[in-house]
Amino acid sequence: MFNPNATDIDGPILFSPENEKELDTLLQRYPYKRAALLPVLYMAQAQFGWLSPGVMAYVAQRLELPEGKVLQVASFYTMFDKKPAGRHKIEVCTSVPCCMMGGFAVVRHISEQLGIGVGETTADGRVTLLEAECLAGCGYAPLLQVNGEFHENLTPERIDALLATLR
């Protein structure tokens, strides 16, 4: 049962007025509510920071879906955070061909600089480090994405300069 006073995130679990409007727009795009689940989960993640059990229950209620269906979908897709992530999410491509172009060396370098392993978040909540499968930039390897922006043809110096900008 959805509990608007759930304590798994700070504050009440209610969409902001802007997101209520966005929800109306999204629902008009599809012939039925369920089809809006992915965009609504993105919206919820952007507002609440992560998809806590309380947030997923709220989404289920708003889209008139069983909570289990929302959990099932949220856990199938890697871009939905089922635990809190850092303010900046670094995703390093280690797929073929990046793996042979130094992708793993980039992961090691960042890991050493930040003192965290893959899948971990710095203690101050600043950065989460992830390995990604092919990011569609294979010609410019090695590369990473941070907060959706591409950084290509990486060198240790460029990585350090980038890390310094992430506050």
């Binding site: 294979c138 010609g139 390897a141």
Partner: protein, 425 residues
């Protein structure tokens, strides 16, 4: 060669409607509005334009399968879930020339009497998403989308729908499931999407590059388009070269160009890095069987690469080059790990088999495997192949199987020496 598909890639702000129109944008749509509705599909069939998402299915034929004269809404779904390792072309179409894709969508809408197009874009492609959303907003503001477009009587909408990180959603029926708000698990076919697609309605699913080519076929004519390629492989196309070459990047080439030219020509891949030799080439993304360096004298198109002794695929035209510093066993192991991670879990042979394949390959690469495990590996991949709902299982079987077939000595050497002798990653 003349840039056709990529003509706008280096034009400043070609992603805006005004610049796109200055460069001839939306002329094809206006031409189509003046044509008989039924004239576009025969033109596409004649052009030999084939699907650029991997399978190479003729676009005109696919459009012709959509039932006519039904009352249920029909849809176009654009597969923009670019995620096949080695592939990076659709992203640039969406980022730099999104209106060409939109123009193709609207032409499809008019020709096939569609209600709307959904562009299913990979969640990671944030700039591409932003550029497409901006393009769509411009089109609504100028009457090129919405009700009665340019007085043609066509009501048509385009929506962008973001995926959320699942490779399998590039498979068309998994993509449709995902668009309906479900986990991306492929459907059994038949029924094919043309009959029962998204929201239970007839649906045509096309790749980004395929749809972006449609206005160009209309503009240049089917005969011109067909003449640009090899037999039954019409048009220029975008190859992407990555890995151990001097000039990685995207290049527009005639269909049927020699694979050797793609890898070695100074216009394209530029050949191996100084002092190195090429060992293997994947011709179209990691699902395609690998070729040895002595097998590059083949036309890069959907038909020639299928023939013996190549037995591979043109796929997405993502050409991945490995040189003599690259351990092919480790590449196979990396691909297996990818497939294990991306298996949707629906079919047992794929879900379980890929875990075994991945573990055995890791063990062989590390030097801790027995000789019998190399044979066992082939047995497992052959039992995945053909025993799953979607082509993912076949791709696994073919691509992993090809490393064993093409480079058996490398696998044996790892077992016999008990270690990998190549530089670490």
């Amino acid at each position: 060669m003349e840039r056709v598909i990529t003509a706008n890639w280096h034009v400043e702000q070609a992603y805006t409607l005004s610049v796109y129109q200055q460069h001839g944008g939306f002329k094809s749509l206006k031409k189509v509005f003046g044509m008989e509705r039924g004239a576009v599909v025969p033109e596409l069939i004649k052009s030999n334009l084939r699907g650029r998402g991997g399978a190479g299915f003729p676009v005109g034929a696919k459009w012709s399968f959509l039932p006519k004269g039904t009352d249920v809404p029909k849809y176009l779904v654009v597969n923009a879930d670019e995620g096949e390792p080695g592939t990076f072309k659709d992203r640039f179409i969406m980022e730099r020339d999104p209106h060409r894709l939109m123009e193709g969508c609207i032409i499809a809408g008019f020709t096939l009497g569609l209600k709307a197009a959904y562009i299913y874009v990979r969640g990671e492609l944030v700039l591409a998403t932003r550029r497409m959303e901006a393009a769509i907003a411009e089109l609504y503001a100028t009457g090129l989308l919405g009700k009665n477009i340019l007085g043609s009587g066509l009501d048509f909408d385009i929506y962008v729908h973001r995926g959320a990180g699942a490779y399998i959603c590039g498979e068309e029926t998994a993509l449709i499931e995902s668009l309906e708000g479900k986990t991306g698990q492929p459907r059994l076919k038949p029924p094919f999407p043309a009959v029962v697609g998204v929201f239970g309605c007839p649906t045509v699913v096309n790749n980004v590059e395929s749809i972006a080519c449609v206005p160009l076929v209309i503009e240049r004519g089917a005969e011109w388009w067909s003449a640009q390629g090899s037999e039954k492989n019409g048009g220029p196309k975008i190859v992407q070269v990555s890995g151990k070459v001097k000039r990685p990047g995207t290049y527009e080439v005639p269909n049927g160009i020699s694979l050797r030219d793609v890898v070695f020509s100074d216009l394209y891949g530029g050949g191996p890095l100084d002092g190195r030799t090429i060992r293997g080439v994947i011709p179209g993304g990691t699902s395609c069987p690998v070729l040895r360096a002595d097998q590059l004298d083949v036309k890069h198109d959907f038909d020639a690469l299928k023939e013996k002794p190549f037995e591979t695929m043109a796929g997405t035209s993502g050409v991945i080059v490995m040189d003599d510093t690259v351990c092919v066993v480790r590449i196979a192991a990396r691909i297996a790990r990818f497939y294990h991670h991306e298996s949707c879990g629906q079919c047992t042979p794929c879900r379980e088999g890929m875990g075994w394949v991945s573990k055995i390959l890791d063990r062989i690469e590390a030097g801790g495997a027995k000789r019998a495990e190399v044979d066992q590996l082939l047995d497992i991949v052959n039992n995945i192949r053909g025993n799953t709902i979607c082509p993912f299982g076949d791709a696994v079987g073919m691509s992993i199987g090809a490393y064993l077939r093409q480079f058996p000595e490398e696998f044996i050497a790892h077992v016999e020496q008990g270690r990998c002798t190549y530089p670490a990653w």
